[in-house]
Amino acid sequence: MKHILVIDDAATVRLYHRNILETAGYSVDEAINGIEALEKALVTSYDLYIVDVNMPKLDGYGFLKEFRRQEDVLQSPAIMVTTEAGNQDKILGYASGANLYMTKPTKPNQLLSYVRLLLGEVA
């Protein structure tokens, strides 16, 4: 079973993404900010990260930049999810190490298609 880390400071968003992903057969962990995500990512090999941008302590860009610096850790793909849809934010997201960028509010079908694409599950 593929293991996904959902990183978002909003409990409802985490629960929403967890429900969608678990229903589709994935195993899900949660982190409430970039610091907690980094701590978890350094000890657990996740297959995919779903990362919010605006979070206290360490935002999504900061998490991805720091995570991508860790040479000894499996560098799994990441989807950046945010309310901001401007080009500048997308550029920052990709520059930080995101593989795909989604704008909130996420739709279940769209989220799952992105997840499957990055996990190499698309036929």
């Binding site: 909003a10 409802t12 309310t83």
Partner: protein, 209 residues
């Protein structure tokens, strides 16, 4: 052979710091190449009148994280109109870390934020309105629920409403129920809004039993 650590460097730094405590000197140090000098300048400027404007100006260019945190904390300590406007201006920054830090600082200023939150919640930029809702998350102010209800009743942007709804799920009471039901009816094709509204209604109803 035992290694004896040299002790004088911190004393010298302290002396140098004390020697330049006038306003002009500190303003110069605020632009110094050494981030430690800038950090001390921020700390000492808080004690000076008219410090707010130079700190806000420096904030726009400061790229060292710890100096920037020092400036944000100094502005929170000063709490005058210029400081508050400087903190609010950070909400428009492209820098997510600066935005989030200013949100955390503004959460600690309930009286000052309470006076301007309604203006922020009507800002033309939907992202600023979202950040204003984020500030309400742990703002100790009696009107928080009313402001959130106002947002989900009137704001046309789905993400602003969703952010307010997430928070209402935690702090909302029975008086929020009609507005939550109306919001769900307003965005019937948005799965996240429907999910979040159902969750909020369930939590509020369970909490009232």
């Amino acid at each position: 052979m035992a290694f004896i650590k040299k002790q004088q460097s911190s004393t010298e730094t302290e002396d140098e710091r004390k020697a330049l405590r006038d306003f002009e000197g500190l303003c110069e140090e605020l632009n110094h190449a050494d981030s430690q000098v800038r950090r001390w300048a921020v700390r000492d400027l808080v004690e000076m009148p008219n410090a707010s404007s130079v700190l806000v100006e420096r904030l726009e260019h400061e790229n060292n994280a710890s100096v920037r945190t020092g400036i944000l904390n100094a502005l929170a300590q000063l709490r005058d109109t210029i400081s508050l406007n400087g903190l609010i201006e950070c909400l428009r920054s492209e820098d997510a870390a600066l935005r989030n830090e200013s949100i955390e600082i503004l959460k600690e200023l309930p009286d000052e934020v309470g006076a301007i939150i309604e203006t922020l919640l009507k800002d033309s930029d939907s992202d600023v309105r979202i950040f204003a809702v984020n500030i309400l998350e742990s703002l100790r102010h009696e009107n928080v629920e009313q402001w959130l209800i106002g947002v989900i009743e009137k704001d046309s942007h789905v993400n602003v409403c969703s952010t307010a709804l997430d928070l209402l799920s935690e702090v909302g009471s029975e008086q929020a129920i009609p507005a939550i039901k109306k919001l769900k009816a307003r965005f019937p094709d948005e799965p996240y809004v429907c999910f979040s509204a159902d969750l909020a209604l369930k939590r509020i109803e369970e909490g009232s039993q």
